[in-house]
């Protein structure tokens, strides 16, 4: 065998299983879902189904899908924003200020929530946020007579819970990007007359932007499709498009509508990324 054929074989045998797995577990079900979204009956119904666009039509004709979608997108932006606001400084401190064993210990604290079940994490938030919960009691202890605080089943509760769930993604992606920035670049900036802040703005921030972008994408996409956190922490108030999709599958058993809504959600994500892409590519390309 010539070297090139050998290389090809190596690539094929190494990547083949992964592609096969992805094709079977992601691509085929997705295709089935796409087909399903154009049917007028659920496959559970023992009657022949026929082709229809009604499921997509329902999204645009029924008034209540639009506010749900808007809230989902808002939720995506808010959670991404708060993750960045809290996660980036933490990642910066970890990558640039804390050295040695402390770094490992703090890292452990960050990934620790990943080791517990997501449901457990979310339900424990209900303990914190409900009236007479931990937040309420602390506020009452500090300011006796203050009005009772009941955050549970509200928009802020959903944002708080989701931010908590997805914060580690932002910390990890930003940490990786920041850690790759050589300290001598910051020293060079300062030796050239830039203040620490200017050096951060002109050197560190642009170079860590790829980490911010990938963290934001990792968070934004699952958050706008989320249904578990909004259901438990938001109740009826926090209803999202994701919750509605889940109900189509589990409660009303209207799979075609659920599939159609899923693809609409996918389209929304793609459109948002399409709009942001030129900006992201410009910034990312500089980095």
């Amino acid at each position: 065998m010539t070297p090139t054929t050998r290389t090809r074989w190596a690539i094929l045998t190494l990547t083949g299983p992964a592609y096969l797995w992805l094709a079977c577990t992601i691509f085929l079900p997705l295709l089935a879902m796409l087909a399903l979204s154009f049917l007028d009956k659920s496959p559970l119904v023992p009657k022949p189904a026929s082709f229809t666009l009604d499921n997509y039509g329902a999204y645009f004709s029924k008034g209540f899908y639009w506010p749900l979608t808007l809230w989902s997108i808002q939720l995506g932006f808010w959670v991404t924003f708060f993750c960045l606001l809290i996660g980036y400084p933490a990642a910066y401190a970890l990558a640039k200020r804390i050295k040695g064993r402390w770094r490992e210990a703090i890292f452990l604290l960050i990934v620790l929530p990943f080791w517990s079940n997501a449901l457990v994490r979310i339900f424990s938030w209900t303990m914190v946020l409900r009236s007479n919960g931990i937040v309420d009691m602390s506020v009452q202890a500090m300011f006796p007579g203050a009005p009772s605080i009941d955050l549970l089943y509200s928009y802020p509760a959903v944002i708080i819970g989701l931010t908590h769930s997805y914060l580690p993604y932002m910390i990890l992606t930003c940490y990786i990007a920041l850690q790759a920035i050589d300290d001598s670049l910051m020293e060079a900036g300062r030796s050239l007359g830039a203040t620490a802040f200017t050096t951060f703005r002109r050197v560190v921030l642009p170079l860590s932007l790829p980490g911010i972008i990938s963290g934001a994408a990792l968070i934004f996409v699952p958050v706008i499709g989320s249904f578990m956190e909004p259901r438990i922490l938001g109740g009826t108030k926090g209803a999202t498009l994701g919750m509605n999709i889940e109900e189509q599958f589990t409660v009303t058993a209207n799979w075609p509508l659920g599939s159609a809504l899923s693809f609409i959600l996918l389209a929304i994500v793609l459109i948002i990324f399409g709009i942001l892409y030129p900006f992201l590519r410009k910034q990312g390309g500089e980095a």
Partner: protein
């Protein structure tokens, strides 16, 4: 241009003194090399002058003004880092312009000065390139242009050439020297490459354990090392331990362990004193045959190893129970064979009495 004076500089990390009372003055326009093994304090001193390290005690003055408490960005220094530290997300021109940009220099002036600076390092035409698209030597030039464009008072170089291959390094040495001469900037550079330090510097300082062992012109320091460390660090040296057996006028005779006697120029040493003499390998002449009559500054030995390295040969010669290292230019003579008897001879002036 500027004079930099360091007085009583001390910096401790726990129980280790990185700088242990360093006094050095860098004259206006001087090219000064800081030389020493790793951990000797040379880099700590450079970084203290830059402002990245705060001294525990002592002061650093530029033109008489104490800058010890002035933050890095207000010191007006130019620094070239070992890995160049070019901003990867900026073009060559943007990299060079950075220092002017943060000083709010008008755009037209920035363009002009960036152009001049790139011209100085002979990189005109590469303004739009990214650092990644440049060779190591070109990156080095960009780093230099970037450090000089703000017209700093002093230029600091941290092992500037260590990342380049030998050929490029020699070329850049010449370039560095030319640029430094052209603008006449006080330049302090750190290196562990002794040859580089000797080639480039007007003066060098040898560091060991946080202290300056010796400072002076390269030739002086090489010819007249003050102690065993300085003699051994800068170039190679044979060390002869002996006892003064006679003093005559300006010269003293010293008996060395193999029974021969050598002559050192008088240093005010008393008869009977123990002395340490450093002798450079290239000063010794080596001749075949071991039957010559005994004479001062002459020993008989046996070749233990002959190492050929192109332009020169290194011999290891056993004399009594110790080894002499001898360098010989590769002239038209067959190399001396191992185990053959040889005579080593040198001049009185080559014997340098050093502190242990």
């Amino acid at each position: 241009m500027s004079e930099v004076a360091v007085k009583g500089a001390v910096k401790r990390y726990g129980s280790i003194a990185a700088l242990d009372g360093v006094d050095l003055t860098f004259a206006d326009g001087e090219f000064f090399g800081l030389l020493g093994p790793s951990g000797s304090g040379k880099t700590t001193l450079l970084r203290s002058i830059a402002g990245f390290i705060e001294l525990d005690a002592g002061e650093i003055r530029i033109d008489g003004t104490d800058i010890s408490r002035i933050p890095v960005h207000q010191r007006n220094i130019g620094m070239v880092f070992q890995n160049y530290a070019l901003f990867p997300h900026m073009s060559v021109a943007e990299n060079v312009a950075f220092g002017l940009d943060v000083r709010n220099v008008p755009a037209s002036e920035i363009r002009e000065r960036v152009g001049e600076s790139l011209d100085l390092v002979r990189l005109t035409g590469l303004e739009a390139r990214r650092p990644k698209q440049l060779s190591g030597g070109q990156q080095q030039r960009v780093a230099l242009a970037r450090a000089l464009v703000t017209r700093p008072k002093v230029l600091l170089l941290d092992e500037p050439l260590s990342a380049l291959d030998k050929h490029l390094r020699q070329e850049m040495q010449v370039e560095l020297r030319r640029i430094q001469r052209q603008i006449g900037i006080t330049t302090i550079f750190v290196t562990h490459d002794q040859e580089e330090a000797l080639t480039l510097s007007d003066r060098v300082a040898i560091f060991n354990k946080g202290q300056v062992v010796q400072a002076g012109a390269p030739r002086t320091v090489y010819q007249w090392p003050v102690n065993r460390f300085a003699a051994g660090f800068l170039g190679e040296a044979n060390f002869l331990e002996g006892k003064v057996v006679g003093v005559l006028g300006h010269e003293a005779r010293v008996a060395i362990p193999d029974g021969s006697e050598i002559v050192v120029t008088h240093q005010g040493i008393a008869n009977g004193a123990n002395v340490l003499v450093a002798l450079r390998p290239e000063k010794i002449s080596i001749e075949p045959g071991g039957s010559q009559a005994p004479r001062l500054n002459r020993v008989i030995g046996r070749v233990q190893a002959a190492i050929f390295s192109g332009s020169s040969l290194t011999y290891r010669v056993s004399v009594g129970d110790r080894l002499f290292v001898v360098f010989e230019q590769n002239k038209n003579r067959a190399p001396l064979v191992e185990q053959s008897a040889v005579t080593l001879e040198w001049e009185t002036a080559d014997n340098v009495v050093v502190q242990p």
